[in-house]
């Protein structure tokens, strides 16, 4: 069984934000909700690197662990999903998440953040795969159609990789060996407790 992961090759990422708008486009994500974002470190200085970040679908996901209502679940593909029917919008997953992935619609009403929203690895939610209900709550279910997350598929420089962890790790390793440098598989140590030796 595949274990789906994301890997952002920061030596390729140019902060073009294609991943961000591809995500918005595919799932009709509303204004203010950023399932994916690009963060630039050392902005404007030599050594500047940008990293595209969303839910990393961690092994032993902290969000799932701290959720007071246990609304998270992990699919056979290792994708961490949640049920918006169960979510109470407490915000705890954001505190636990190492990557700032969970998003909450602001409903104007203090204290009642809406149901949490986050990257689904384009795998929808607990509803029937490909159903309208699933689309409206979680967005498209590309995985069920045999496609990978659109952010990675549309990445301008093929920096963002998505797919079976072993395969994308191999691709990345290959790249690093070939070009002779690599600033690391950002977030892998934190998310999966592993690094890609190169």
């Amino acid at each position: 069984m595949a274990r789906m992961k994301f890997l952002c090759d920061a030596d390729r990422c140019i902060e073009c934000n294609a991943c961000v708008t591809a995500c918005k486009n595919e799932h009709e994500v509303p204004w203010g909700i950023n399932r994916r974002r690009v963060v630039t470190i050392n902005d404007g200085k030599p050594g500047e690197r940008s990293v595209s970040m969303a839910c990393m679908h961690c092994t032993d996901a902290p969000c799932a662990a701290v959720c007071p209502v246990n609304c998270f679940y992990t699919t056979e593909d290792g994708v961490v999903l949640h049920s918006k029917d169960l979510c109470i919008g407490c915000g705890y997953c954001f505190y636990a998440c190492p990557f700032g992935a969970p998003q909450y619609p602001k409903l104007g009403d203090f204290g009642s953040r809406g149901k949490m929203d986050k990257c689904t690895f384009c795998a929808g939610g607990p509803e029937v795969d490909g159903s309208k209900a699933e689309y409206e709550k979680y967005g498209a279910n590309r995985l069920a159609e045999g496609k990978l997350p659109l952010c990675a598929e549309m990445c301008s420089t093929k920096s963002l990789l998505a797919g079976d962890g072993e395969v994308i790790a191999e691709i990345y390793k290959e790249r690093v060996t070939k070009r002779g440098y690599g600033s690391g598989a950002w977030g892998w140590q934190t998310a999966y407790r592993e690094t890609i030796a190169s």
């Binding site: 963060v39 690197r49 007071p68 979510c87 505190y95 190492p98 990557f99």
Partner: protein, 337 residues
Amino acid sequence: MASFARYVRFVACAWTALFIMVLALPVSAQQPTRIDPNASAVTEQKLFQEHNRIQGRVSIPDQRSSMLEQPAGRDWRHFRDVTLRWIGGISILGMLAILIIFYLARGMVRIESGRSGRTIVRFSAFERFVHWMTATCFIILAISGLNITFGRPLLLPLINSAAFSEWSQWAKYAHNYLSFPFTLGVILIFLMWIAGNIPNKVDVEWLKRGGGMVGHDHPPAYRFNAGQKVIYWIVVIGGGLVAATGYQLMFPFYLTGIEGMQLAHIVHAVVAVLFVAVMLAHIYIGTIGMEGAFEAMGEGTVDLNWAKEHHSLWLDEQNARTGVNETRRQPSVRPAK
């Protein structure tokens, strides 16, 4: 403008972080004749050596998202899932155990000289209103709060997920909205009773004598004895802390970043469970722990003999001021033992 102020604050934080990172950059990168941006690329490993989190710049206004990685989330998770449950479990269950043991050993503290049948006003209607408003809020806040920490292991297995979420959702609303009357209560308690709760020499004596809990001792006390003063200050300081941190959690990220939020939660949770434990003792002593205590808050009056035994100095004060004029006859209530 609030959002802008927030923006500026966060940018300032980001820049501080950046500045520190820059200082740590290899000197060679700064030399004008050879700038190789690729070679001086930041790596995750290096950044983590300098800091326990990685912060950058984003163009979207949500400056929280400029935090690329914060593995500290895992520490917080450990606190929430393990540490807090231990602290909460030990303090609350421990307190319950102590109270049960104490009750079994000591039983209810009686009015030794029996009821005089005469009462004296101890708390005004307003004071009692404030107390009970605060107390009611506290109980609901405590239950709804404990649900967040203990509901998933304790309650969820007993009912289905949907029902548990429904209950938790309402509990969350209750927790959020009742925080306002609770905070008001804490403020009023602070103001109402501050005069009687300044520690003094009598308290030292009272404490030395263990509050007279064991044996038949009755150390003198003014309106509030040292034990009550401790409760008062726990309520004021503890209540203040849970309120302050609670509002921070309710209005997330207005004042602080992710670390601040985590810290706010930790303080809120620890103080809250300890608070609950202390309040259990308070409830015990105010009800089955001591004869004649409940009526102080229940009806506002206490038996003269009760006052003599537990608050002799206060009674003296009252007598000096008004003379022994309490005439209300107290129906003698004999609680079952």
